[in-house]
């Protein structure tokens, strides 16, 4: 079974600074990988996803993530954060067998705080 680790429970970044949120997964093959954002009182929104091909994927709101097979990682990055980026971020994986139609396995999330 697959698993996801987000090592940082909280991260504080100054507005305008760069951001990297870490995600490590455990799975026997290359899974499908996702990053979701959950703002206070809001539902989960998909930021970006990786299925195959180019290991650097671009998402919405200026986010990107890089899949590194050798490190079993899928870290999320943004070059310059905005106060509106303050939220909870979740990394998720699903097995690529069966078309990836199984339930997602989520990490415990990273709470992003933006300092003015």
């Amino acid at each position: 079974a697959q698993s996801v680790t987000q090592p940082d429970i909280h991260i504080t970044v100054s507005e305008g600074a760069s951001l990297e949120l870490r995600c490590n997964y455990s799975y026997g093959a290359t899974p499908y990988l996702f990053w979701y954002v959950q703002s206070p009182g809001q539902g989960l929104q998909l930021l970006l996803k990786y299925f195959s091909g180019d290991t650097l994927v671009q998402g919405i709101k200026g986010f990107e993530a890089e899949f590194k097979r050798s490190q079993s990682s899928f870290n999320l990055r943004k070059p310059s954060v905005h106060w509106s980026d303050a939220a909870e971020y979740f990394c998720a994986v699903v097995a690529n067998s069966g078309g990836g139609a199984d339930g997602l396995t989520f990490g415990k999330g990273t709470h992003l705080i933006i300092q003015p």
């Binding site: 539902g43 989960l44 996803k49 078309g99 990836g100 139609a101 199984d102 339930g103 997602l104 415990k108």
Partner: protein
């Protein structure tokens, strides 16, 4: 178009009572998922429906939890004899046919509080 909707948005119930949570998926989406999010935790997969196939119940935490889906539309998650540890936000998601590059679209959730 309309997204995934869930009702009620909030539910407070007494320990030992049964509750029903409803999910309306995006029209045309054949796959439907239920997740649970406890305070400060990530999401836990509960159950998955795909078309007329038998549901994947591998994530249900106990036999007090059950879910049904009417065709490819509405789903109901039922929790019997609720316990305080059932307090959580219950999220529903839907997706289009597997076999393509798919993604799950989440509803706003139902916040369940068991007193």
């Amino acid at each position: 178009g309309a997204g995934v909707s869930q009702s009620p948005s909030n539910k407070v119930t007494e320990k030992g009572k049964d509750v029903e949570l409803r999910c309306d998926p995006i029209s045309g989406h054949t796959a439907l998922y239920w997740y649970r999010q406890r305070l400060g935790q990530g999401l836990e997969f509960l159950i998955y429906f795909q078309g007329n196939s038998a549901p994947d119940k591998s994530g249900l935490p106990s036999d007090r939890f059950s879910a049904e889906r009417t065709g490819e539309s509405v789903s109901t998650l039922t929790i019997q004899r609720t316990q305080q540890e059932d307090s959580a936000v219950y999220l529903c998601a839907s997706s289009s046919l597997p076999g393509t590059v798919y993604e799950q679209y989440f509803g706003p959730g139902t916040r369940l509080t068991v007193t």
